[in-house]
Amino acid sequence: MAVEHPVATQAGDQTRIHNIGYRTYDGPRLGRSYATRSLYSQSLRGAYGLGRSVKSKVLPMLLFVVMCVPAAIMVAVAVATKANDLPVDYTRYAIVMQAVISLYVASQAPQSVSRDLRFKTVPLYFSRPIETADYVRAKFAALASALFILTAAPLIVLYVGALLAKLDFADQTKGFAQGLVSVALLSLLFAGIGLVIASFTPRRGFGIAAVIAVMTISYGAVSTLQAIADAQSINGGGSADAIAWIGLFSPVTLIDGVQSAFLGASSAFPGGVGPSNGEGVVYVLVTLGLIAASYGLLMRRYKKVGL
């Protein structure tokens, strides 16, 4: 541009700017894995609105607080009443708060991937050292981590509170560990489902609506069918097994099934009967299968989204 020529007669401060010529860069170039990590940390921060506008911080932060406040109240109650146990199991907490978690996924999954599609930033990423797989992994890992932070934070509050209330240490630690495994699985599953749905639309609104729909409709349908099956089995229909099998069809009940079979949780299924160990294996396989399938679908999706 014409103004940038180092003309001696130009005004004082401008001359100073112009005298700094172009400097080449001889420093290190850290390559693919560093770039992937950068994308991961940028996406993870973005999932809580950090590095973005004030407006985009409101919802994730609010949901984070909403997740933690009940835990804090429960701890306060437990301490005050000198209870022998916490009012809710570590494993049960996320199931109770599932609406908040779904809302978080619905708001942040589109934020993470739909924006890149909408504003066509994706080609810029792929014109740099990273590959399709790096992009998918970074985004997947970032949302799963964000969800883990969201779901594990209240468990930490519960655990610290339980120790302060001098509840049984071994018992609490075991429950806490089981809870962490459970929310880790939940984070991966929800992140996968949310990202797959969001990656198919460049419109954030559609993404939000679709994720909410999938999460709540599947849960609503499964709960209703389970309730019907439960009522029938009480009337002598003899379909208690059906409750367990129906539970495979929504993300929340899937996690519920896995943890009641293997992580010592009490099931939230009607009648309080979770899947048996045999059925539990199917639950675990389906959960892991879904996570893998989400990853595969994302890879396929981004193979097509090139320049």
Partner: protein, 329 residues
């Protein structure tokens, strides 16, 4: 910088590139072609993002088929389309893109500040990109392509959507990328006139085939034709004719510039032999007491070399225009 060897890309229905063999050296190279000529496909292959159906290509001496990541680390890319998120500032965006190119955090920030300054973004770089004008957005797009100090940049239609002034600024900037920054440039456009002013070398492709590849000077400086227009005075009612006769008397052949167009009979064309021709014309016109309305170089435009149905007919902006206002009358 770039070398392709019978490079082909076929899609189920279209052949985007058809045995294209071209060598591009350092400097600013223009890649010209109509829409759909295969420009973007070529860039995609050169970035190692899309495998060629046959043939091979090298960028910076690296094979695109196997060394894609290494190429993309040393090459910058400015896409044709919009690619900027509106809710972040230019600084944040370019820093992020620098880190995506492998620059450590501190270096990414320093280079971002430098690069944005070089492309001409100052205080506004802290504001969200959503509020930028098209010209400013193009500069941000250019900055993200340059921020990691590549050896070569691909600029895909960088002047798209800019007004004439913005276009000139952008072309000047592209020129400086090579002269001041030492970065080689491959710039695509469907406007031949633009590339003529900016590039050292022009590659023309059409339908995926190479039409011509040669340096800009070959195109435009084979002949220099001067166009002259003078006023009439009472002494010389037909000034044009008087000048023609006077020049003829001094041994300079004058062509008639009319070409059958109305009003064009007042324009004289002659072949310039050097600075003496300009002096001669000046002296002749002054001796006759005529006013010199114009004396300009008629350069051969690239579009004359390729009389395809290119859209590059925008040559009214003659950079070499020299106008002299008459000496009395």
């Amino acid at each position: 910088m770039i070398a392709t060897e019978s490079l082909s890309k076929r899609f189920p229905r279209v052949t985007a590139l058809d045995r294209l063999s071209v060598d591009v050296g350092p400097g600013v190279t223009g890649l010209v072609g109509a829409n759909g000529a295969g420009k973007s496909t070529l860039i995609k292959i050169l970035l190692g993002l899309s495998p060629a159906t046959e043939g091979r290509a090298e960028v910076l001496g690296l094979d695109v088929a196997t060394k894609g990541a290494a190429i993309r680390e040393r090459v910058g890319y400015m896409p044709e389309h919009d690619c900027l998120p509106p809710d972040v500032s230019a600084t944040e965006f370019v820093v992020h893109m620098a880190r995506m190119s492998g620059l450590p955090p501190t270096a990414a920030r320093e280079r971002t500040a430098d690069t944005l300054r070089h492309v001409g973004l100052y205080e506004e770089r802290y504001r969200p990109i959503g509020g930028y004008s098209t010209g400013m957005k193009q500069r941000v797009k250019l900055a993200q392509a340059l921020v990691h100090d590549p050896q070569l940049v691909f600029l895909d239609e960088p002047t798209n959507g800019l007004d004439p002034v913005g276009r000139d600024d952008m072309l000047g900037l592209i020129r400086r990328i090579h002269t001041d920054f030492g970065i080689s440039v491959l710039v695509t456009s469907h406007l031949l006139g633009e590339l003529e002013r900016t590039c050292d070398h022009v590659v023309v492709i059409d339908g995926g085939k190479l039409l011509r590849s040669s340096s800009t000077t070959d195109f435009t400086q084979t002949t220099t034709t001067l166009a002259i227009e003078v006023t009439d005075t009472d002494d010389h009612p037909d000034g044009t004719r008087a000048v023609r006769d006077a020049l003829h008397a001094r041994g300079v052949d004058v062509l008639d510039g009319s070409g059958g167009l109305p009003g064009a009979g007042h324009i004289l064309l002659l072949t310039a032999q050097g600075d003496e021709t300009y002096d001669l014309v000046r002296d002749v016109v002054a001796d006759l007491g005529l006013g010199l309305v114009r004396m300009e170089q008629r350069r051969h435009h690239i579009s004359e070399v390729f009389t395809d149905s290119e859209q590059g007919s925008e040559h009214s902006t003659d950079t070499q225009r020299k106008e002299a206002v008459g000496h009395g009358g």
